[in-house]
């Protein structure tokens, strides 16, 4: 076959026209949500238990095709882009806990779960977790998946060698204030030189802030990051640095991991999900760890929600699926599958969650995490918290890592916060 230039041009033109027209035609017909029998569920890897999702597909297969899609990469920006683009919006969307503040002001994009009878399920879930899914106007956006109670992970042998309490109950009881925790850090360093209780000052600052019922911006859109609760957290972090119990290692580097493995960094204040990080990051420390309550009171770190979007054509069915996916038995399965810590206290007594864990020397870690989860207090989750917390976190890091003068660092943080607050329309 001979291809003439004219023929080629025509073919190119026809192709382009077809593509353009096709694009335009489908462009006009792009559906807002799912089509046919599909019920599209967006979540991320490890966001729901795989076994539970598989069972849900079979269970509801008669009425809908449950399309559970794991979205990789930066989940929130993909969900927001899709919702703003108003096409192919999932029926059910996973919402990450740390992103809730940005979804809640836009509660009108989701179905208010109260209208679907959510209130009936309330008593089965952790009260504070339930409240985190509710927007300022009272509508319920997110249905609780998991939570992340923070506890004190420590290496038994190292604590014992340093003459510190080493039995989990004793550690919980005796290191129950920051003062006692810091004193223990000093003793640890004295008895075993080169060993630090804390990897960085942010561990103190952020945990103390998270323990409180107030953070950086309150419900009235007012900046409260300059008030006593933040000053106290700041002062404790500075004190930890002054007393020399903080290492100069960067979290996640090989240096830090090897320090953890060698017992030079035998302690972490971390959420329940850190169990998996420790197991995969320093597998050779198997059997050396124990878990105890953190000083003062437990805090929460992470944990996500499921929501029904406005594009969903069958909200009742979607809600039915959600409540089944997240009932106490399936949340227990989620813990087994993906380490998702249940938000249903009834799960804590189930056998699957009460297995002695050889990584923790046979300890039943649920004895610590379970009660911790039920004692958590949470703060109001403002959409401006991230922007206005960042200068404080940056500056306390400068104190910890670069040795910046704490007073100057505080003033710099406040100056930046005030500027950002004005810019975002937050009063101060």
């Amino acid at each position: 076959m001979r291809l003439s230039r004219r023929g080629l041009l025509r073919a190119g033109l026809a192709g382009t026209a077809a593509t353009t027209l096709g694009g335009l035609a489908t462009g006009c017909a792009v559906p807002t949500g799912s089509t046919g029998r599909n019920m599209v569920l967006w979540y991320w890897d490890g966001g729901l238990g795989d076994t539970v999702v598989k069972k849900a597909k079979a269970r509801y297969g008669d009425s809908v095709d449950l399309q559970a899609i794991k979205i990789g990469g930066y989940y929130r920006s993909k969900l927001m882009t899709t919702m703003t683009g108003r096409s192919h919006i999932p029926d059910i969307a996973g919402l990450k806990g740390e992103d809730m503040a940005s979804y809640l002001p836009n509660a009108d994009q989701f179905v208010d779960l109260r209208t679907l009878g959510a209130e009936r399920y309330r008593s089965r879930y952790l009260a504070w977790k339930w409240d985190q899914g509710i927007a300022d106007d009272g509508s319920m956006v997110g249905f609780p998946i998991d939570c992340g109670p923070v506890a004190h992970y420590y290496q038994y042998g190292v604590f014992r060698k340093a003459g510190l309490p080493y039995d989990p109950d004793d550690v919980s009881a005796e290191l129950n204030t920051w003062e006692k925790f810091f004193t223990a850090g000093e003793r640890l360093k004295k008895r075993i030189p080169g060993t630090y209780l804390l990897s960085d000052v942010n561990m103190v600052f952020e945990n103390v802030v998270q323990q409180g019922d107030r953070r950086y911006v309150d419900k009235d859109r007012h900046f409260i990051g300059d008030e006593q609760h933040v000053r106290d957290a700041w002062a404790l972090a500075v004190e930890a640095k002054r007393r020399g119990i903080v290492s100069d290692l960067v979290a996640g580097t090989p240096d830090q991991l090897s320090a953890v493995q060698d017992g030079k960094l035998p302690s972490q204040l971390n959420a329940s999900w850190a169990t998996n990080d420790i197991k995969s990051g320093v597998p050779r420390t198997k059997g050396r760890w124990r878990v105890a309550q953190m000083p003062v009171r437990p805090s929460n770190n992470g944990g996500s929600f499921l929501a029904v979007t406005k594009a969903c054509r069958e909200p009742e069915r979607a809600f039915q699926i959600i409540t089944w996916l997240l009932d106490a038995a399936n949340q227990a399965q989620g813990f087994v599958d993906a380490g998702l810590f249940p938000s249903t206290p009834a799960s804590y007594t189930l056998g699957a969650l009460r297995e002695p864990d050889p990584f923790f020397g046979g300890q039943i870690t649920m004895d610590v995490f379970g009660p911790a989860a039920q004692r958590v207090e949470v703060a109001y989750n403002s959409p401006f918290d991230v922007a206005l917390g960042q200068p404080l976190k940056d500056e306390i890091k400068n104190v910890g890592v670069l040795g910046k003068d704490p007073r100057k660092a505080w003033n710099d943080a406040m100056r930046k916060c005030r500027r950002i607050a004005t810019h975002l329309g937050v009063s101060h």
């Binding site: 353009t20 927001m80 940005s102 002001p105 836009n106 996640g252 240096d255 770190n301 940056d394 500027r419």
Partner: protein, 319 residues
């Protein structure tokens, strides 16, 4: 640039005698149609988003709710935002720390590759390899290389009797680590480009130089370098464009496993480049309006550098 615009699309003399003069668009429509995939795609994925970002930058928007008109206030805030200017400074310092050693090393490598007798292609392949390796993988390796207690760099320093440096914990250490990563990634690529340039220099020039008694050093500075100037400028321009948009290198190298922002760029924001700052404002703070304004700030800085580059090229043209 002006020369390309000077010729208006007038009718071809061959067809001008016809009954109706055909304008350019009519005469060449099928040509335009043939290249239309490019400009349609560019319109969709280039021009419209660019225009939309300008529109967003004049608003306050959380990315999901309704937009609120903000006028030029985002730009006003940008001008006084010390964090943005820190990011501009970081970007330029990292770019300079990466580019000049990289060009020097690439030139040396190219000269050596040019005189290599055996395994030429193997060497070329080996030097090109870093450039096609995933930045994320490289950054993870460099994180280990620059780690304080077990890093290769500190092991070398200690071997020659120097003190350890906490590379990823000090402002200059961070910049040097990021710049080293970029140097390593781009040296081979640019060496290949230099090599192509070297091979266009006629051998007679070298012969003449040798007959005049010039040594290898003199030959390099008197012949190779002047002849290579256009290639050098090309490499400089490309490095500027990529260097000013550096993002993955500091992001992966400086991210921590804690709850910290992955766009903060390490202690004191020392490794926070302009694009990282843009990401932090947009995706951490959900401040899409301000993020768009930052993006336009980045654009203006790149334009400024492009003008400087262009002036350099122009001066060459006038010689």
């Amino acid at each position: 640039m002006a020369t390309t615009l000077r010729k208006p699309p007038v009718a071809d003399p061959a067809t001008a005698g016809g009954s109706r003069p055909r304008t350019g668009a009519r005469r060449y429509w099928h040509l335009y149609a043939a290249i239309s995939p490019f400009y349609l795609l560019f319109l969709c994925f280039g021009l419209i988003p660019v225009g939309f970002s300008l529109y967003v930058s004049l608003h306050r928007w959380d990315g999901l709710g309704s937009m609120e008109w903000a006028g030029l206030s985002q730009y006003q805030y940008l001008l006084g935002d010390s964090d943005f200017w820190t990011a501009v400074g970081n970007t330029i310092v990292i770019w300079a720390l990466a580019t000049f050693p990289m060009i020097f090393l690439a030139m040396v490598t190219a000269v050596m590759l040019n005189s290599a007798v055996r395994l030429k292609n193997l060497y070329r392949f080996a030097y090109f390899l870093p450039n096609v390796t995933s930045v994320v993988a490289i950054a993870i390796i460099f994180g280990s290389v620059f780690s304080t207690n077990f890093g290769l760099v500190n092991a070398l320093l200690q071997a020659v009797g120097l003190d350890q440096v906490a590379w990823l914990n000090t402002p200059w250490g961070i910049k040097i680590a990021v710049a080293t990563l970029m140097t390593w990634q781009w040296t081979g690529y640019n060496a290949i480009i230099f090599l192509a340039g070297l091979q266009t220099i006629p051998g007679e020039l070298y012969e003449a130089a040798r007959m005049d008694g010039a040594g290898p050093v003199q030959t390099f500075f008197r012949i190779t370098l002047p002849m290579m100037r256009p290639v050098l400028l090309f490499v400089l321009v490309v490095s500027t464009v990529t260097g000013l948009q550096s993002f993955s290198e500091p992001q992966v190298l400086l991210q921590t496993t804690s709850n910290d922002s992955t766009f903060a760029g390490g202690p004191g924001h020392a490794g926070q480049t302009m694009v990282l700052y843009f990401f932090q404002q947009t995706f951490d703070n959900n401040d899409f309006g301000y993020g768009a304004a930052v993006a336009w700030g980045v654009f203006l800085v790149v334009v400024l550098f492009s003008i400087i580059n262009w002036r350099l090229v122009q001066r060459r043209g006038e010689d």
